[in-house]
Structures are given as structure tokens and as C-alpha cells.
């Protein structure tokens, strides 16, 4: 048996059709190390003299800090430092900026504002001693009433959470609005049918298998800080650390090693990172911080938590005319939402979905509560999960009231291909789409009509079977720098490509994989463009000293932005290669033809030079054409002109046990269209993972709180994520509608399935419960909650 490594080695390809360039199923280059336990994740890093840091967290949601006694912890023989908020305040480091231009306490100084908030940290010789030290700190709290219910946060007598903000007298965070209120009101006044529904997208958590952590290593002699960190955006983090710490940016090196899943959880800067940097500055030694699962769930970036009143207007014949919504957004104690600055509600504006409507309007109020900060995470594409869930539930509510088939209602209202590029009523310019074939395909794959017949028969027998349809349009690839920045950093991405003398290549990315397979797919993109086998192309990401600046991987933006950069930098190198080839073949540049990996003289294929020949000449001793420097490399920074708008048609079949109210997902068909497909195998894996998120959110997951603000979901015993048993066998399909503005026609796809699957599953459950006269039930649809719905009183999740 040949080993995988042998088969990943470059081969000779005499037959042009067998060239290993281009898009297709290629086994992953990163697998050989992961499969052996040779990945290098943050907690695998061991440095000489390394110390361990542990954080003391608030046991209560809202309280004044009366006193902190650290003497017993200081006296522990293995403890080297104990640091409180007061200590950080002396250095001006007690507070840090968030990605939404709010501030967040690194360590609490005045009071604690959520359970799990950072209060003090201990640095010790090993991780066990650091935890011992934390146990020895004594904090006296003066307990305050907490604000937990987002609906009551703005009541006049609600306790004030953010008294740190000057002049702040209430828990109001921000207001936001989009669409045309008057035009929408007119549409609603004249519509035959108006359906209103209160729809909650509960708070959930990305819960990557690897928690957040870092190793900070400050070298006092060089004044150099190296930070290994679980970050999806290493360059942006470097800039923020420079601004916060006062260290010069060229003396800060962020290294994102292998990351054990991100899912948006690893975009923000967490207090633990800042504490570790401070600890290394103070002790002069490397300091490691790795949070445990409970800390991850109760203190790092949550997702969703939108309370939405949705309205949809239509004619009695089912033509959708307008959509209107009022949203109450729970942002926790600090506004840590990771979104482009001009988009405090992310891209929620795409809530008009995939439909050709006349008017739309959204009004949003965001509030502070005594909970952990976050909001944008868990494959949400900046709040598109919420937008798609809202519109896809509303369309089903409309179908329910009109007593029409939900798939037919969608087919009737979908945007048509000739309408693209389509400007939505909230101003989003959808790049391309051919929606109906995708929905028809998913209906054919699952056998939609047969299923409806089966359902009718089962209803006769009192069996509960539901069919849920969801059609979504995503908006990914943030984004055009004129509109989109994070803390002033434009959302463009760099890429650098170097071809070595022997024709091997290294491509350096500004984005950062957390399992999405970038080491493989970027090699494929470059291979396709420059004709070098993917196995001869090394992909480098994550190290800010080694890679060009860019904003990182989240919002499915890697392929749209960095993927475009990789294609374009390859073409830039190819242009130079063509000039060098013209000198080698002694013809003009215009007389050369590119043939994936070589240039030949037009009309004379025998007169050719390969990219490898050219690379050697570029670095060699011979003459190069006039004005051409040696070497074969280029760098670019790609500023996308628009987002990409992948779409998909999902259909889910569930069976519900009428005796226990347990929901079983029997089948799920997902047809995704993300334009040009770079690696079919990897896309399928992305879709499988995202659909499984959907099962989790729709049926199992919730970050819940009691009235005192205790987080009830602080472990994997309480925060349930799907195992192999709850997860069905996925059936995937695709159509291909390329993005017209993207260099290779590719759109992002990583988050599509997480966005599109929850409404399909919920629609299926509600459809199954139709005999009970239920039009809506909120997630998570656990047996007890489905049971409540079957008794005629569906419970709100919060």
C-alpha cells in the first residue's frame, strides 16, 4: 500500500489531462500531521520557563466589588503573581476597546457585570498551582439586581449596568434602522393578508472543540512580544494590541498555530489574552493561558439572541409584498459584537431573503444585559442566520395562513435570474442567482410530492411527520473597504506568491484557517492559475511576521476575498513569467499562449517553456528582458467590489413521537450554490458541519439564564451539541451560478448550512405539529418544549 504521503508527492504528468492542477476533490495537505497527533495547537506549545495563568471569575451577574484579598494566593509557594483590576488600572490596561467601539473590562475594577466576568488572575509554575491560587483569592461582593430579561432592560426602574459610561442613565446600547418605513407601511395597509409572529432566535454558543487560549512571550532585551493565540484574525489583533499596550506594532508578532475550530468564537480579543501579555511583561517569562470549557461557554462570544417581531404582507394569491420587523437585540454587558463598524446589526438587512418584494423595513434596538458579550459568531455571516431565520419562518407562517404549500409559495416569489444583479429593498446588491432550479433540484432529490402524500396518510393515522423547506440567500465576503472596516481597518486581504528557482512555490495568506482546508484549497487556486502542482505549493497563514496584512477568516470571507487575492496574485506572477518566457523563446509577449503550466509559441506547441523553466531563468544568470527584475514573485491587496451571495434550497423531514415529543430528523437534502467549486470534497464537509450546527440550534442548544443571572449552560452536560446519534445522514447537491465579480467566480459557502438549516428544521417541526393548530414554536425544540407546544402553549425560550 502506498502511503498518503507518497501520493501527495509531486508526480510527473506526461498527459496534460492528468495535470494535478485546478479544482476538484483533492485530499487535504493538512491531514498527515493531524492524523498523527502532530498538529500544533495553542496548548501544545511549551517554552522554556513557561508559566501558567488562571483567571478568577465572578460568581454573580451584577455586583459591586467591595474588596479583594489576594494575600493567601500570593503566599502560595508556586504562585509568582496575582493581579487585580486595580493593578491593571494603574497601567491604564483595566479596560480595552471592543470590535464595536465599546469598551470591555479586562479585569473588573468597579463592579462585575456578568457571571463569569474576569476579576483577577494568577500566574504560577504549573496549571494546577495557578488554579490553586485562584481558589485562594477572597472577593467581597455587594450584590446588585441583575438585568436578565431583554424585554425589561429598558424599563425606567431597570438597574443600570453601564455606569462606567459617562452620562449613561439606561441600558440602551444602540438603535438601527434600514429600509423605507413609509413605503412599507403603505404596502401593509393595502395588502390582503398580513401575518404577524413573534420569533426568537435564542442565545447559543459556537463551542469550538478547542477553547480559547494563548502563550505570551515578551522578550525584554529585544522589546519583542510574541503571542501564540487562538485567533481567526491575527493581523487585526496585532494592530489592536499595539494600540492598547503601546508596544510598537513591528515588535509584536502574532502566531495563530493550528486552531481547533473557530466558528466565530475566536474573532474577538478576550481579556485572557491581554492578561497573558501583561503577565509576561511583569514576569519576563512566557505565560500560557488556556480556558476550560465552562469559561468558554460562560464568558466568550455568544451568538444570536435576537427577539424579533416579524410581519409579512401578501396578496390573497400569495404574492409577497412586504416584510417588516422590529428587533430587540441582547448584546450582554459590553457591546463586543464583531461586525464592520458601519453595520452594528451586521448584515441583518438581507432579511428580505430570496424574494421579489415591494418594500421592507427594520427597526432595531440593542440593549445591555448582565450577560457575557458577543452576538456575532457561530457561522452567522454577521447576523444573516437571524435574517434568514426570520424571513423563512415568516414565509412559512404566511403559507400556514393562506393554506398553501410552502414550497409552492416560495417558487411563486423567488427572484428570477434576469433580475440579477438585484438591488434589494434594503440596498443590498445580490451578485447572481438562479434560484428556481436549486429549489426544484432539492424537491426532486427528496421526492417532495411523495413525501406530502406520505404525510397526509400518516396524519390520518395520527402520526406526526413534518416537511420543512428553507430557501436562503447569503451575503459573504466582507467587504468593500469604502463601506466596511473593523476598528478602522479596511476589510481587504493581502496575498503574496513566490516561485522558488526550482519551480516550487509558497503562497502567504492574510486569512487564517481553523479547519476549513485553506492549506489545500489555496494551493489548488494557485495551481489552477500558475500550473504548478498543488503538492509543490506551500500555503502559509497565521503568522503576522510571515504573511501580508488582512482581516482574517470569518463571515465565509476567505474564498471571496483571500481566494480572489490568491488568483490575482498568481495572474500577476504569470504576467511576469510570460515576459520572461518571451525572452527565452525570442518571440513577442503577444505571440505566446498559456497552457496551464507552460507558455508556447502560437502555432508551434513544440516551442515552449514550463513555469519551472521560467522560474529558474528568473533566478538564474542569463539575461532577462529589458526592465524585468530577477525573481518571480508578487504581492497584492484585494479590495472586493461587492460581497458574494451564495444561496441554497434545503428540505428537512422530521418524525415526532407523539408520546414523548421527541423530534427525529429523518432526512435532510441540502442543495448549495456557491458558484465555482474549488474542492467538492471540502465543500461537502463544510456543509455537513454546518447542517449539524442546525440540528444543534434547532433542537438542542441554548445558553439559558435564571432570574439571578446564573448561566445554566456552562458545560457540555447542559449545553448539548449533537453527537453522531442525533445527526442524520446528509444528502447534498449543488448548482453552479458563478459570482460575476469574483476572479474565479467562487462565492463563500462555509456558513451557508448553519444559516439555512435551522429554519428548515423548525419549519419541519411546526409542519408536523399542524394538527395541533400551531403556527410557530421557538427553538430549541427539545422534547419538553415540543410537548408544551402540543398542549397548546408553546413557551418562549427566554
Amino acid at each position: 500500500m502506498t502511503t498518503i504521503e507518497e501520493r501527495l508527492q509531486p508526480e510527473s504528468f506526461d498527459d496534460n489531462d492528468q495535470k494535478p492542477v485546478g479544482y476538484g476533490r483533492m485530499l487535504r495537505k493538512e491531514d498527515p500531521r493531524f492524523i498523527r497527533g502532530r498538529g500544533r495547537y495553542c496548548d501544545d506549545i511549551q517554552l522554556t520557563g513557561m508559566l501558567h495563568l488562571a483567571i478568577l471569575r465572578s460568581p454573580v451577574a451584577h455586583a459591586r466589588i467591595v474588596s479583594i484579598d489576594t494575600s493567601a494566593a500570593q503566599a502560595h509557594p508556586k504562585v509568582l503573581a496575582v493581579v487585580t483590576g486595580a493593578d491593571l488600572a494603574e497601567k491604564g490596561l483595566a479596560w480595552m476597546p471592543t470590535l464595536s467601539n465599546d469598551v470591555q473590562a479586562v479585569l473588573a475594577t468597579d463592579k462585575v457585570r456578568f457571571q463569569g466576568q474576569e476579576v483577577a488572575f494568577v500566574v504560577a509554575e504549573d496549571r494546577y498551582a495557578a488554579r490553586d491560587g485562584v481558589e485562594l483569592i477572597d472577593v467581597e461582593y455587594d450584590i446588585l439586581d441583575p438585568v436578565i430579561d431583554v424585554r425589561r432592560a429598558l424599563e425606567p426602574d431597570a438597574p443600570l449596568i453601564r455606569d462606567d459610561l459617562e452620562g449613561k442613565t439606561d441600558n440602551h446600547c444602540f438603535d438601527w434602522e434600514t429600509g423605507d418605513e413609509e413605503a412599507t407601511a403603505r404596502v401593509f395597509e393595502t395588502a390582503d393578508v398580513v401575518v404577524t409572529e413573534d420569533i426568537v432566535y435564542p442565545r447559543v454558543h459556537p463551542a469550538p472543540m478547542e477553547t480559547c487560549g494563548c502563550v505570551a512571550d515578551y522578550d525584554k532585551v529585544d522589546g519583542q512580544l510574541t503571542l501564540w493565540s487562538t485567533t481567526q484574525a491575527p493581523h487585526a489583533h496585532r494592530t489592536v494590541y499595539a494600540l492598547v499596550s503601546g508596544l510598537p506594532e513591528h515588535k509584536i508578532r502574532i502566531i495563530a498555530p493550528d486552531i481547533g475550530g473557530g466558528f466565530g468564537n475566536k474573532v474577538p480579543i478576550y481579556p485572557g489574552y491581554v492578561c497573558s501579555i501583561v503577565a509576561s511583561l511583569v514576569t519576563g517569562k512566557p505565560v500560557k493561558w488556556m480556558e476550560d470549557r465552562t469559561e468558554n461557554l460562560i464568558s466568550t462570544g455568544f451568538a444570536r439572541d435576537y427577539v424579533m417581531r416579524g410581519e409579512i404582507a401578501a396578496t390573497k394569491d400569495g404574492k409577497i409584498l412586504g416584510i417588516r420587523t422590529h428587533v430587540l437585540a441582547d448584546h450582554g454587558a459590553f457591546n463586543g459584537t464583531a461586525a464592520p463598524i458601519k453595520y452594528p446589526a451586521g448584515f441583518f438587512g438581507v432579511f428580505t431573503g430570496s424574494y421579489d418584494i415591494e418594500a421592507a423595513h427594520c427597526k432595531m434596538t440593542a440593549v445591555y444585559t448582565n450577560k457575557a458579550p458577543g452576538g456575532v459568531a457561530y457561522a452567522c455571516s454577521f447576523r444573516i442566520t437571524e435574517a434568514v431565520y426570520l424571513v423563512e419562518r415568516l414565509v412559512d407562517c404566511l403559507a400556514y395562513d393562506l393554506e398553501v404549500d410552502p414550497a409552492e409559495l416560495r417558487l411563486q416569489n423567488l427572484l428570477r435570474p434576469e433580475q440579477f444583479p438585484y438591488t434589494s429593498k434594503t440596498g443590498w446588491v445580490y451578485d447572481s442567482g438562479d434560484y428556481e432550479p436549486a429549489l426544484r433540484k432539492s424537491m426532486a432529490m427528496i421526492g417532495y410530492d411523495d413525501l406530502r402524500r406520505e404525510q397526509a396518510e400518516k396524519r390520518e393515522r395520527g402520526e406526526l411527520m413534518g416537511i420543512g423547506v428553507a430557501f436562503f440567500t447569503e451575503a459573504v465576503g466582507a467587504g468593500p473597504r469604502k463601506d466596511m472596516d473593523i476598528l478602522g481597518l479596511g476589510m481587504a486581504d493581502g496575498c503574496e506568491l513566490r516561485i522558488h528557482p526550482t519551480g516550487k512555490a509558497v503562497v502567504r495568506l492574510s486569512c487564517m484557517s481553523q479547519g476549513q482546508g485553506h492549506e489545500t484549497t489555496y494551493a489548488q487556486i494557485v495551481a489552477e492559475e500558475i500550473g504548478i502542482p498543488p503538492s509543490d505549493i506551500q500555503v502559509v497563514n497565521g503568522d503576522t511576521d510571515q504573511t501580508p496584512f488582512g482581516l482574517g477568516t470569518y463571515g465565509s470571507r476567505s474564498t471571496p476575498v483571500s481566494g480572489a487575492a490568491a488568483a490575482l496574485v498568481s495572474r500577476k506572477v504569470r504576467d511576469k513569467a510570460q515576459i520572461i518566457a518571451s525572452g527565452m523563446l525570442e518571440v513577442s509577449v503577444a505571440d505566446l499562449e498559456w497552457d496551464k503550466g507552460s507558455f508556447h509559441v502560437k502555432g508551434d506547441p513544440s516551442a515552449s517553456v514550463t513555469i519551472q523553466d521560467i522560474a529558474m531563468r528568473a533566478h538564474g544568470a542569463g539575461d532577462l528582458p529589458e526592465g524585468i527584475e530577477g525573481g518571480l514573485e508578487a504581492q497584492i491587496c484585494y479590495n472586493p467590489s461587492n460581497l458574494t451571495y451564495p444561496f441554497g434550497a434545503y428540505i428537512c423531514v422530521v418524525d415526532i413521537d407523539p408520546g414523548t415529543a421527541q423530534v427525529k430528523v429523518r432526512r435532510f437534502v441540502a442543495v448549495d450554490d456557491c458558484g465555482t467549486r474549488i474542492n467538492e470534497m471540502i465543500i461537502e464537509g463544510q456543509v455537513h458541519g454546518g447542517l449539524t450546527d442546525g440540528v444543534g440550534m434547532a433542537l438542542m442548544e441554548i445558553i439559558a439564564f435564571d432570574d439571578d443571572g446564573n448561566c445554566l449552560s456552562g458545560s457540555l452536560m447542559d449545553y448539548l451539541i449533537p453527537t453522531a446519534l442525533e445527526t442524520p445522514t446528509w444528502e447534498t447537491g449543488s448548482t453552479v451560478t458563478p459570482s460575476p465579480h469574483h476572479p474565479i467566480g467562487a462565492k463563500g459557502v462555509g456558513e451557508s448550512a448553519t444559516v439555512g438549516s435551522p429554519p428548515a428544521i423548525v419549519n419541519a417541526v411546526v409542519d408536523a405539529l399542524k394538527p395541533y393548530g400551531i403556527r410557530h414554536a421557538d427553538m430549541p425544540l427539545t422534547p419538553s418544549r415540543v410537548w408544551d407546544a402540543m398542549q397548546g402553549h408553546p413557551t418562549p425560550p427566554i
Binding site: 494535478p20 511549551q46 481547533g260
Partner: protein, 172 residues
């Protein structure tokens, strides 16, 4: 306390505190960082290793409890430079993404297949899903993991082509 374990066929002796978890002993004292930690409630299985042939979660075993035991970690799965067929199956079937659950998943899977073989049972999809219930994965949605285990169980390993090039045209 002094503890002696046979890890991946090599006897390793070290001083440990009685409270030291086996997973930390493997990772931090013996330097075998393939075994991962994903939770604090014995739920995720990222720390799964073989202890005297049984698949166990090493976050829920004290190092001193393993005194005298034979332990196999992911680093010990390849022999004589050849990967274990389960490792190859995971690569060929795209049974991993971020790779963090993978070591534990491979250990649990090999124990599952070995147990079925010993009992003369043929594994089907349902049995694999049930057998891996103790191992959480956030990336793959399990489907390709199940496919990997089934492929390995039926000996369908080592046949994947490296690249299957799609010949569709790409827009300029």
C-alpha cells in the same frame, strides 16, 4: 508519586502529583500532545486513548491509576512508518477538518472496530454512530467520520485517488 506506564510500547517513569490527570501527564510530562482536551465534564472524548486495549477518556483517569498499564496514544498508531488503516481511512474520506477531535476519534474508532471484529460482528452505520457517541466533533457533521470507520472496517483503505480534477470551465 512515582508512576511507570508503558506508552506506545516504551516504559516511561516519572514523578507525578496524585491529582495529575492522565491527559496532562501524557501531554505535559511525556510530551505526547496529540491527545487533546475539549471539555471539563468527560463529554467530548478528544482525550480518548487506549488503556490496556480499552478506549478511555484520559481526562477522567488519574496518571497514578494507570500505574503498570499499557497505553496507546495517537502517536503510537503508526507502526514501522506505516499509518494505521484507520488513519488512512480518515484522510481518504475527509473525516477531519480542524483535526482537534481526530486523535480521540481515531482511538475510539479503532477500539470500536477491534471490538466488533473480536465479537464477529459486522459494523453498520447505526452501530458506528452509537459506538462514537462519546466523541464530539464540531466540524464534520460525523458523516465522513462514519464513512471512514466503515471503510476501515471493510478494508477499503488505500484506494483513493489523490486528485480527481473537474474539467468544467471556469469563468475568466
Amino acid at each position: 508519586m512515582r508512576v511507570t506506564l508503558t506508552v506506545n510500547g516504551v516504559e516511561r517513569t516519572a514523578d507525578v502529583e496524585p491529582r495529575t490527570l492522565l491527559v496532562h501527564h501524557l501531554r505535559e510530562v511525556l510530551g505526547l500532545t496529540g491527545t487533546n482536551v475539549g471539555c471539563d465534564t468527560t463529554s467530548c472524548g478528544a482525550c480518548t486513548v487506549h488503556l490496556d486495549g480499552q478506549s478511555v477518556k484520559s481526562c477522567t483517569v488519574l496518571a497514578v491509576q494507570a500505574e503498570g498499564c499499557e497505553i496507546t496514544t495517537i502517536e503510537g498508531m503508526a507502526t514501522d512508518g506505516q499509518l494505521h488503516p484507520m488513519q488512512v481511512a480518515f484522510m481518504e474520506n475527509h473525516g477531519l477538518q480542524c483535526g482537534y477531535c481526530t486523535p480521540g476519534m481515531v482511538m475510539a474508532s479503532t477500539a470500536l472496530v477491534a471490538e466488533a471484529e473480536a465479537e464477529g460482528r459486522t459494523l453498520d452505520e447505526a452501530a458506528v454512530r452509537e459506538g462514537l457517541e462519546g466523541n464530539l466533533c464540531r466540524c464534520t457533521g460525523y458523516q465522513n467520520i462514519v464513512a471512514s470507520v466503515l471503510a476501515c472496517a471493510r478494508g477499503d483503505v488505500g484506494n483513493a485517488t489523490e486528485v480527481q480534477v473537474r474539467r468544467e470551465e471556469v469563468p475568466a
